[in-house]
Amino acid sequence: MSATTATRRSAPSAAVDRPGSHRQHEVLRLLPGPLLVIILVFLGALVLIPVLYIFLASVNSDIGVAKGEFWPSTVTLENYSKIWTSVGLATGLTNSVLVAGATAVVSAALSISTAFVLVRYTFRGRLTILRGLLALQSVPGTLMVLPVFVLFSSAATYLGIQVIGTQWGLFVTYLTFAMPFSTWVMVTYLRGLPKEPRRSSPHRRRVPPRGPLPHHPAAELAGHRGLRHLRVPAWLERRAVCLGDDTP
């Protein structure tokens, strides 16, 4: 961000212009103080009130939530024990972990080799494939789900294999949505790795690989100087990248 560039450029010249000094701050200032506070409070409340409500409702009783209480009249932790028995959260979680884990492993394994070839070599149709990977992520989910459903149901008719209602069916459906996405993520990741084999570099002991591990695709929007300095906690950032799709 500009504060860091400022460090580099103005450090030798004037002592008054140190980053963090009052003058520097005034130069970079975008909004007058009161307006800043208004915006921050408004947006913070906009986000936090529903989030706080999620928590408060979770310790409230069903009747309290239905009556529209914000502050629970009776605080109870009963809901947290009930989810394991009444709705079978454990089964759902196991299913999710199984299917999502399998999808992640398979799509990552297969997309690495595809992405490697796409990034390192040139061939006819390469750009078409890259465009296709992006375009496929915007195809309406319904257009994909319908024929997948028909294929599954005909697998039962013609091949005698029951797919609908099984974890395999879910796995293949997830894979349909995950493959283009994970291949694209791999493409952007492999781009950041050095092209030459490491041993040809004279500095190989000193130069750390440019591993873009905490990679945020949005960083590339600003021509590689964007979000890298955005201090989002790493876990949040990873979360944001990994939250693939939740379209049916």
Partner: protein, 336 residues
């Protein structure tokens, strides 16, 4: 496929997009002009193209085949009776399309989808920009504020929808809060107001995306620019309006496109908020397609609708694909 995915991906954009207008020298490196250009550092010999096969074959089986089948289905008379033996389903040509356009709520759904996406976009843009501008300058606790602003972005759609559904239920917390100040709005989750409910919840869920992109745009403003405008004595509004906002044009245009794609394709939010069959005022395209196939069992008609929405999506998608930078930064002159 899922737009939520594309929403997360945000691919490498031509770096010029993030800056103020630049000389046209970079345009020679646009992906479209690749033919004949030798990409530096990419080898031509010993290409292990076979490595494309595993992923490629899988993608052809699970994506290309269903996609083609989906298009083929749109010319079949496919319903719950013919579904089991869809290969022998009667071919009826464009009848599905004719019925979709003339005798179904499709046009209404297109209108709803587009207007809801635009409305949500129009409101989220200023919110996102304001948030980005407000968190650009360092202050104590900025990191916390930035994280808070990203909460709606990282919550899954179905969680957002469930929470809002709980809050907006009749006699729920929102009604309760509004009635204390004397406002009685009526039903949120049924009837004519549902459209506005959908727009509201979508705004809540998607403004942080605009915020992220606006922030990345703000960070490309050079320090000299701040100095120059300080020397010229520009007041904050003039500085924002004439100096800073031009830098945001590129990222925000991109955010607009991706956001529109995302909103038009958004199925989860209306589905969880209102359930199916949804009230007619929120029967947006994905919901209508879903209801037609899995409630009315008119699979052919539904495929035709899905195909029409694909055509609709293709317009912003085409612009988007032209705008993104497909090649890596190293090979073009764009690298700094």
């Amino acid at each position: 496929m899922s737009t939520d995915a594309s929403h997360e991906v945000r691919p490498a954009v031509d770096p010029t997009a993030g800056r103020a207008p630049r000389p046209a020298e970079d345009t020679g490196q646009r992906p479209g002009h690749k033919d004949g250009m030798r990409r530096k550092g990419l080898s031509e010999s010993n290409r292990p193209l076979w490595m494309l096969i595993p992923g490629g074959v899988l993608m052809i089986i699970i994506i290309v085949v269903p996609l083609l089948l989906g298009i083929y289905m749109s010319v079949l008379n496919l319903d719950q009776y013919t579904l089991r033996k869809w290969i022998s389903a009667p071919l009826i040509g464009v009848e599905n399309f004719v019925e979709a356009v003339t005798d179904s709520p499709l046009l209404h759904a297109v209108w709803l989808s587009v207007s809801y996406s635009l409305l949500a976009m129009v409101v989220t843009l200023p919110l996102g920009i304001a948030a980005a501008v407000a968190t650009q300058n360092a202050f104590k606790g900025r990191a916390v504020i930035r994280s808070i602003f990203l909460i709606p972005y990282v919550l899954p759609s179905f969680v957002v929808a469930t929470v809002w559904r709980t809050m907006l239920q009749p006699g729920g917390i929102v009604d309760e809060a509004l009635s204390t100040v004397g406002i009685h709005v009526g039903l949120w989750l049924n009837g004519p107001q549902t459209f506005w409910t959908l727009v509201l919840v979508q705004i809540w869920a998607s403004w942080p995306f605009i915020y992220l992109l606006a922030l990345s745009g703000l960070q490309s403003v050079d320090h000299e620019v701040h100095e120059a405008s300080a020397l010229d004595g520009a007041l904050w509004w003039n500085k924002l309006r004439y100096v800073v906002f031009p830098y945001l044009k590129g990222p925000l245009a991109l955010a607009f496109l991706i956001g529109m794609l995302h909103h038009i394709n958004n199925f989860t939010l209306p589905f969880v908020l209102f359930g199916v069959p949804a009230p007619t005022d929120v029967e947006v395209l994905p919901i209508l397609t879903y209801v037609t196939s899995f409630q009315s069992f008119r699979f052919g008609l539904s495929a035709a609708m899905a195909f029409i929405s694909l055509v609709l999506i293709a317009i912003p998608l085409f612009v988007y694909l032209r705008a993104v930078k497909l090649d890596d930064a190293d090979t073009s002159g764009a690298k700094k």
